[in-house]
Symmetry: C2
Subunit: 339 residues, 2 copies
DNA sequence: TTCTTCCTCCAAAACGTTTCGGATTGCTTT
DNA sequence: AAAGCAATCCGAAACGTTTTGGAGGAAGAA
């Protein structure tokens, strides 16, 4: 039915050893025999059985992409999808495979990440969207499964990470607002269980410090990375502190919420209140007005994560850390160009 | 290092056969021995080697998701992502795995789908986004690899498909426009290599026929499922046929293009020209004005596709065809509610 | 001639499972 | 006492590869 190496051996009149070595490019097989074997393999429409190969070599040339909460709703921000595309891109360039593990909270109780990885024999894993207080994060990091984390700065023998410079990214955004003359700037941050939240807050503070604008803690709200929550918080801030003329939001989704709140209060964007977000999701350029934001190239993050992981697997990684650039995209939510 | 069934056997003082059968719930092992074995397995932190299992059982409990052209740009419409999420959802419910194959045109030349599938030992595949003139579609369908197609109506012993009723979907959209009094309705269709294009065009015609509005072929343009192309075509149509008061677009992305064109000509939506799209992508509810569209539940399509495939694999599929519902979502691009 | 060396090739073990075809024991029937 | 049966267990083969440690010759060196 399905051709194996054995069939080729029989047809070519050689041993299976020779077939294996011929097909894998070893030098101890005569070039003429090799050609014959390759020819026969092609004729018989042979494709190697990766299961068998993986079994004996003890590696599968497969990496796992572990994302958390891949539900119907999460499709809204395509962060995960872009990461995935990037991972997929590199992985297919180097002839690896990617299998997707999505862990819902119920699922986690049954099987731990490490179990998942070991069972499916992935050589390594990329983790995305895991909260820093996730008990399983600890587990993976402590296991000996090579992995790279996205936006979580943990490093060890087997663990690396890729991230962007979130402090600088936030700084760029806030400097932009300051340059436009804003002094009363509020921030809607994500929940504290994300590394990026902490970093972006720091960037926010540092930028204010640079400009010698006092930092007021009461102008920082927790929007939990949710559109609705951010809207509520923005509403609260705007009514409580009417002097606010600008919002820096730690995600575009939250910026959308803030914009809704601003509009609800009958204020104009950006004339009365300016808004800048973070992520540059697709929606950002389609809102009215289009949203200024700090763009991070998530596709590249996925690509680099996969690259780093596979380099680690093959022992040629020089560093376990990769930090990517961000770019401030100025649109009309902060600055109206009349021309 | 890593525990195998053999270690358990040694620790429990039984044969590996017994361990295997105990762990797999066979009845010919004493309940006390089984408990002991399970206990030991847990203690030793055992997880079965799916490679070895797959090798001997000749199936991997893995399905492949074949998408075409998963590039950085395609992340814009999250169709693929939603399908993927749906597939992933079902697959993890029944303890299968999903591996993603994204085929770019260059990649296809090296390895055919069947080779990919056979090599990676997937039990079956789901194909999404493949054009009907793709030579490899033929190949997969003719191979004996079980697969289900998304939006391509081919059926055989090993092939099934899931789709929505695109004729009806289009009809709903056009009937809506007709009910609003529109008579000069243009259509921007996708390229002809998609099954859905043909279907949606038919729905368009049938709806007109019902209302006894003559069908004018020159009002149908090819937008190639691209935003820019659709914009150009809309521009051309609007200037050439100023009597047009409504557009039916075969995708939301193209509807976005049409809306741009309409705005460029200084016309208002929906007062001067109404627009209805297809897909209900996330952007649709965020445009100004929000876009009326025919929603198809892509998550459900993915979910059902995976379900169908796995039922086929396990021999319990009664039908190879699944047709899902669509829903017309009326928003302000067709009808402004003044209240 | 005898010893090396190089080039080709191969038999067999190993990877971790599942499964087939018994084997053993103790009990019940005849 | 012999035979039959149910319950419980196990040895060994099989799945399709890779790899180890050589074997067999031919050619060159001493």
């Amino acid at each position: 039915m399905v051709t194996t190496i054995k069939d080729i051996a029989k047809a070519a009149g050689v041993s299976i050893t020779t077939v294996s070595r011929a097909l894998n490019g070893y030098s101890d097989v005569n070039e003429k025999t090799r050609q014959k074997i390759i020819e026969i393999a092609k004729q018989l429409n042979y494709s190697p059985n990766t299961l068998a190969r993986g079994l004996v070599m003890n590696k599968s040339k497969t990496i796992g992409l572990l994302v958390s909460g891949l539900t119907r709703e999460s499709a809204k921000d395509n962060f995960t999808f872009e990461i995935l595309s990037g991972v997929n891109q590199y992985v297919s360039e180097v002839d690896y495979d990617m299998v997707l593990f999505s862990t819902t909270s119920t699922k986690q109780r049954e099987k731990t990440y490490t179990q998942l990885c070991r069972e499916r024999r992935v050589d390594g894993a990329i983790l995305q969207g895991i909260r820093i207080d996730d008990p399983y994060l600890q587990e993976v990091v402590e296991s000996d499964i090579p992995c790279v984390l996205i936006d979580i700065p943990i490093e060890s023998e087997t663990v690396g990470y890729v991230t962007t410079d979130n402090v600088l990214g936030a700084k760029k955004a806030v400097r932009h607002l300051l340059a436009l003359g804003h002094r009363d700037i509020a921030m809607i941050n994500g929940y504290e269980y994300a590394f990026v939240s902490e970093q972006r807050l720091r960037g926010f503070c540092e930028a204010l410090l640079e400009a010698e604008v006092p930092f007021r803690e009461q102008l920082v709200a927790d929007g939990a990375f949710k559109e609705e929550k951010a809207e509520q918080e923005a509403l609260r801030l705007l009514t409580g502190y009417p002097e606010i003329t600008a919002f820096f939001c730690a995600s575009d989704l939250m910026a959308l919420g803030a914009m809704k709140a601003i509009k609800k209060l009958g204020k104009r964007i950006p004339e009365d209140v300016a808004v800048v977000g973070y992520d540059d999701i697709i929606l950002a350029s389609y809102t009215t007005p289009p949203l200024s934001t700090v763009a991070q190239n998530q596709f590249a993050m996925g690509y680099e994560a996969a690259k780093l992981l596979i380099e680690m697997l093959e022992g040629k990684a020089t560093s376990h850390i990769k930090v990517l650039e961000t770019e401030l995209k100025v649109r009309e939510s902060t600055f109206k160009n009349h021309e």
